[in-house]
């Protein structure tokens, strides 16, 4: 898709006059993580990867099929449900590897036409900007570091028999070796995973591990503040946020500062102050 000024030129609109190599559908295929927490305490992904994981960390994916045209489109699937329609090709550092993935049968449609669960069918209509999403989880724990590519393979087309546009049909992740430097990030992710699942005790334990790995971790105190806020202990939450802000202002969290540029630091400080203000406004 190309945009010039206010005029949106979709490549699909030009297809009628083109003879070039690949005539893709305006239905696009995108693979992205279903669970991720950014890269606060570790370097950004390397080698073209878009996300960093650590050995043993679960990898959960979302496979989205989205209509990027301005007119309704029809998805034509092959017989069976999502597990029958979606296959995967996995490589590590360019070499094929076996990795089990489980595809969910549940399909969610979101977008201007509404947000609801839908039944997978041989023909599925999608309005402009509507998206179908299917979950696929990596069953095996990935233990070997390296650059992984998980590519979705399929035979789905639109009503004009055009293949789905592989906008991001390859999920590229870096599985980074565990080290003393990564312990805090690994604990942070565990803390957030537990927090989002409502297991506040486990989340609190993980913040202890964050501080054990990085005693100056301001993010450990942010998460503790979030836990306290979720438990309605607003005073404790405010104290945690205040402490985190002070640590950040004083530049004590050197692990964070190593991976954060000045803009990232300012942005984080601003975000944290806003968070504290919102708490006091509650």
């Amino acid at each position: 898709m190309r945009t010039t000024g206010w005029i949106v030129l979709t490549i699909t609109a030009l297809l009628g006059t083109l003879l070039s190599a690949l005539d893709y559908s305006p239905l696009v295929l995108i693979v992205s993580p279903a669970e991720y927490f950014g890269d606060m305490y570790t370097a950004p992904p390397q080698g073209g990867a878009t996300h960093v994981f650590f050995p043993g960390e679960s990898v959960k994916l979302r496979i989205a099929i989205s209509n990027w045209s301005s007119s309704p489109q029809t998805l034509l699937t092959t017989p069976g449900g999502p597990p029958d329609n979606l296959g995967f090709r996995v490589s590590r550092d360019g070499n094929a590897v076996n990795l089990g993935l489980a595809v969910d049968n549940m399909v969610r449609q979101t977008g201007p036409s509404g947000n609801f669960d839908v039944q997978w069918d041989r023909r599925m209509d999608l309005g402009p900007r509507d998206t179908l999403t299917v979950r696929a989880d990596v069953l095996d724990k990935i233990s070997t570091p390296g650059l992984y590519v998980i590519e979705v393979v399929h035979q789905m087309t639109d009503a004009e028999a055009r293949l789905l546009r592989p906008q991001a049909s390859r999920f590229q992740l870096e599985v980074r070796e565990r080290s003393a430097e990564t312990l805090c990030e690994i604990a942070r992710r565990s803390a957030l995973r537990a927090f989002l699942s409502g297991d506040y005790q486990e989340a609190r334990n993980m913040t202890d591990q964050m501080l054990a790995a990085n005693p100056q971790s301001f993010l450990a105190h942010v998460i503790r503040g979030d836990i306290a806020a979720a438990e309605r202990s607003l005073l404790e939450a405010d104290r945690s946020y205040e402490l985190a802000i002070a640590m950040l202002e004083q530049g004590r969290d050197t692990l964070f500062l190593r991976s954060a540029g000045k803009f990232h630091l300012d942005d984080s400080l601003q975000a944290l102050r806003s968070k504290r203000q919102r708490l006091s406004g509650r």
Binding site: T3, L19, T133, A271, S274
Partner: protein
């Protein structure tokens, strides 16, 4: 009928014989010279009305000659409100000699009944054609006679006449301006010269001291009257240059002549028009005249590029001035590679007409020089390092059409080469493909983009100085002119980009695409992840031509927008770059935290977050994508002091770069969530930079 059949047999034999003769003299075979014209006579009005069309009064080229074929068709309309009319049409050699009255339509006994207020179509003869006899005027149509009965209110009618000559005969023009060019010596021509009838005109181009000489055999088929033949030479202004002595051809007899000559003593090249004519009552049928010349221009070995498979032998033109590698010639739209082309070699005369190869020349040798070998096929596709043009053969034999043709494959959208062809003694001037007379490495034809045509004249291939949008202070988009011309694969299709607008390449890995970034007033291309360098996101990674880099090349990168879902700081997005300046090439990551957005947006923001889809999610994600892309191209936040942003924001603050604006709330009527900015401010468009 029997006579017609016999005549047809004679003509057929003559045709076969003629075809062989024509080929021997390398004159293009004439598949029956056809003349079509229409006649619109006045209506026939009355009880019984007749009208003749006298074809002998028409221009010479519209008259029928012996051995021509003839047919006429048309329609007739009866204007009467209630009564039928009767219409007949017949063909005559002169007013009294009927040739044909058979007629198609609702006819009985060759008369058409035209119902009141109706139109009928007709054709004479009803089937086939009238074949003119070679014997005088028998079966040669001179008159078309129309008759109408009971045409009280009038019968209006129109005629379309079709006359076809014998193949190869009577090709001489009927006027000086229509003279048939003769470019091969010797050439033999054939035809008919009725009494004081149609002259035949031919034209030769003579070098100084060149001579044209005519000789021939003439047959007079008139039983009682002689014919008188003469050759007259004219210049292009119609002034007579010379004339031969006239020649009497006896009745029912033959005569030969030779040395009807003219020599060009003008000291310069001269077009000489030759009139062959009969100026008495005899009937020359046929004439066989051979035209020989000396001093014709030397045949020139010429090279043509055919890029659209429609090379015209009778008007040969090379496509290379308009050719752009990998582009359809008609409109510049990119086509698949390899793109099949053809190099065509032919000898041409001074008039640019293709002529046979000189005696002893049966083949030529094609070659390519200075052929590029860019890596890949476009700036971001494939990785091969082979040469960008490839000949399918080198030594090629001339074919029956007097050309030698070889396939040429184009393998790169920015490739170039120089082609030549040589015979045993000469080599053509080098043909640069694509044509680049101003040596700026860009096709003189320019190139097509979705935004329009780019004119390459005066462009420097290494320039990068787009200044859009108005007022922007950071010119250039990180792509030099040659790279924009060579183009990119974007969404699986090849495109070239224009120079009026900066180009930003984004691979959005979110279902929302590039969100509100469309308001950046530059060209934003949402490309596929496989279209960027897998390791470092460069968009122009194919910048080497053999051992040389594209002049002025700069490693430009695309932006990859990913979903990072959740963070504990409450940030909606995060962009990182290598200091000191945020540009696509210094960008490290662009992350959108969609779960944070969904948590903050009303009306669901339970903790832990439920990830319910809320009504403002999509708009906020669209704004956040534009916001983070803004950071990646050097735009700062619009940060209102003390977080005191009125809602809705005034126009000065109505920008996707607004920060600390959308609160965590369950209030579905919250003003900020109902007024999410979707554009950049003018001041921001001034500041963004791509290199």
């Amino acid at each position: 009928m029997r006579l017609t059949q016999i005549l047809a047999s004679i003509v057929l034999t003559g045709t076969l014989s003629l075809a062989g003769t024509v080929a021997a003299h390398a004159e293009p075979y004439c598949p029956g010279y056809q003349r079509v014209y229409t006649i619109a006579p006045p209506p026939l009005v009355g009880v019984d009305v007749t009208a003749d069309q006298d074809l002998t009064l028409r221009p010479a080229d519209e008259q029928m000659y012996p051995c021509d074929t003839f047919s006429v068709e048309g329609s007739a309309t009866n204007a009467h409100m209630t009564q039928d009319a009767i219409f007949t049409l017949n063909l005559r050699s002169h007013s009294d000699n009927l040739i044909s009255q058979s007629i198609t339509g609702p006819a009985t006994t060759n008369a058409l009944t035209i119902p009141a207020q109706s139109t009928v179509t007709f054709r004479v003869p009803a089937a086939g054609v009238i074949l003119g006899s070679p014997y005088l005027n028998i079966d040669v149509v001179k008159v078309i006679r129309a008759q109408a009965k009971l045409a009280y209110a009038g019968v209006s009618y129109g005629l379309k006449v079709t006359i076809t000559s014998r193949p190869g005969y009577n090709r001489g023009g009927s006027t000086l301006s229509a003279a048939l060019p003769i470019s091969v010596s010797p050439t033999t021509v054939y035809g008919t010269m009725p009494a004081y009838g149609r002259h035949q005109w031919f034209k030769v181009s003579l070098q100084p001291k060149g001579t044209v000489s005519l000789s021939g055999t003439l047959t007079n088929i008139h039983p009682t009257t002689d014919a008188n033949y003469g050759t007259v030479f004219y210049n292009s202004a119609g002034q007579q240059l010379g004339a031969s002595s006239s020649l009497w051809v006896p009745e029912n007899g033959q005569a030969s002549f030779q040395n009807h000559n003219y020599t060009n003593n003008s000291g310069q090249s001269l077009d000489v028009y030759i009139q062959a004519r009969n100026v008495f009552w005899g009937f020359i049928e046929p004439f066989v005249i051979t035209i020989q010349t000396t001093g014709l221009p030397t045949p020139i070995l010429t090279l043509y590029l055919d890029a659209d498979s429609n090379f015209n032998l009778s008007n040969p033109q090379s496509d290379h001035p308009n050719y752009v590698p990998g582009a359809r010639l008609s409109d510049g739209v990119s086509v698949n590679l390899p793109q099949p082309l053809q190099l065509i070699a032919a000898y041409v005369d001074g008039a640019g007409k293709i002529i046979p190869a000189p005696s002893g020349v049966t083949s030529v040798t094609f070659s390519l020089n200075n052929t590029s070998a860019f890596t890949g096929i476009a700036m971001n596709s494939e990785a091969g390092t082979e040469t960008d043009f490839a000949l399918l053969a080198t030594s090629v034999t001339f074919g029956a059409d007097n050309t030698a043709r070889v396939g040429l494959n184009c393998l790169d959208y920015g490739g170039f080469t120089t082609a030549t062809v040589m015979d045993s003694s000469t080599t053509t001037p080098p043909m640069r493909i694509p044509k680049d007379d101003d040596l700026n490495q860009l096709p003189d034809a320019g190139w097509a983009t979705p935004a329009g045509h780019v004119d390459s004249a005066g462009l420097a291939p290494d320039a990068d100085n787009e200044t859009d949008p108005a007022g922007n202070v950071h010119p250039g988009d990180g792509l030099v002119v040659f790279e924009e011309y060579r183009g990119f694969f974007l969404g699986g299709q090849h495109f070239r980009t224009d120079l009026a607008s900066k180009d930003l390449f984004v691979n959005s890995q979110l279902a929302q695409g590039i969100g509100y970034t469309s308001s950046l007033l530059i060209s934003v291309w949402n490309i596929m992840s496989t279209e960027l360098d897998a390791a470092d996101r460069r968009i122009n990674f194919n910048y080497m031509n053999g051992q040389n880099s594209i002049l002025g090349h700069y490693d430009q990168k695309g932006l990859v927008i990913v979903d990072a879902l959740w963070n504990e700081l409450g940030q909606f997005g995060l962009t990182g770059w290598q200091p000191p300046i945020a540009t696509p090439s210094s960008n490290v990551f662009v992350q959108i935290y969609t779960q944070v957005i969904k948590y903050y947006s009303p009306d669901h923001n339970e903790m832990p977050p439920t990830q319910q889809d809320d009504p403002f999610d999509l708009a906020k994600i669209d704004q956040t994508i534009a916001h983070e892309i803004g950071h990646a191209v050097n735009l700062p936040h619009l940060d209102v002091p003390d977080n005191n942003i009125p809602c809705p924001p005034p126009s000065a603050s109505w920008t996707v770069m607004l920060t600390r604006y959308n609160p965590l709330t369950t209030d579905i009527n919250n003003c900020a969530w109902n007024n999410i900015p979707n554009v950049y401010r003018d001041a921001e468009r001034v500041e963004f930079r791509l290199r």
